[in-house]
């Protein structure tokens, strides 16, 4: 099981801040592709963090990972 976290406009688009996905050994890129086809939103500028560290598209996800979708940040 992988936990997905959504923030800002992604959270509003999905209607919840957290999803559980029964998957493992998929890459960040494959997960993004699945979300794009399931929800139809653009993830081009969205960064991904795995277990609170920024991750690249080739990162392989394992059961228990927490994957956060980080839209362009605007703190400060």
């Amino acid at each position: 099981m992988i936990t997905l976290l959504f923030f800002a406009y992604l959270k509003e688009a999905i209607g919840k801040e957290r999803l559980q996905l029964d998957a493992s050994s998929m890459t960040v890129k494959e997960l993004k592709q699945q979300l794009v086809s399931d929800y139809g939103f653009d993830l081009q500028h969205v960064m991904v963090a795995v277990n609170e560290e920024y991750a690249t598209d080739d990162r392989v996800l394992q059961a228990g990972d927490i994957v956060a979708f980080i839209p362009p940040v605007s703190g400060g």
Binding site: L5, F7, A8, Y9, E12, A13, F41, D42, Q44, H45, A49, E52, Y54, A68, I70, P71, P72, V73, S74, G75, G76
Partner: protein, 155 residues
Amino acid sequence: MMTLFTITDQPISMEEVVHKVIRKEAGAVTTFIGTVRELTNGKRTLFLQYEAYVSMAEKMLAQIGAEIKERWPEAEVAITHRIGRLEISDIAVVIAVSTPHRKDAYEANRYAIERIKQIVPIWKKEYWEDGTEWVGNQLETKAYPTGKPEGEDVM
């Protein structure tokens, strides 16, 4: 233990943040205070809402502190960022840097705010008179009126 890098939903005390970095070796303390601006490109903000991935945001603030230590080894840094609903002129962020000499304190403080805008997972939603919008990219040069990228941003 005193926390140097904090996300809070409470009003920020600037003095508290400053006191975290004051010490006898320091001859300079610079502070940056980010406040809520009423007018952006002629549009009037009523209030805004900050949201954060709190646990990761505090880690990223601490990472910025570590980056500053590498570049300015004598600097001490404390950063507090507020989330939740903020009114016009409320303080959103306070950065305090102390160093033996002023030049480093100015430079390190500037570095901290620029890095916050690049890597810290905090988002700002503007509430206008005629609607809302999530502020767009890291440098705040782009907004997403529909709540998501469109036009040239869409592949």
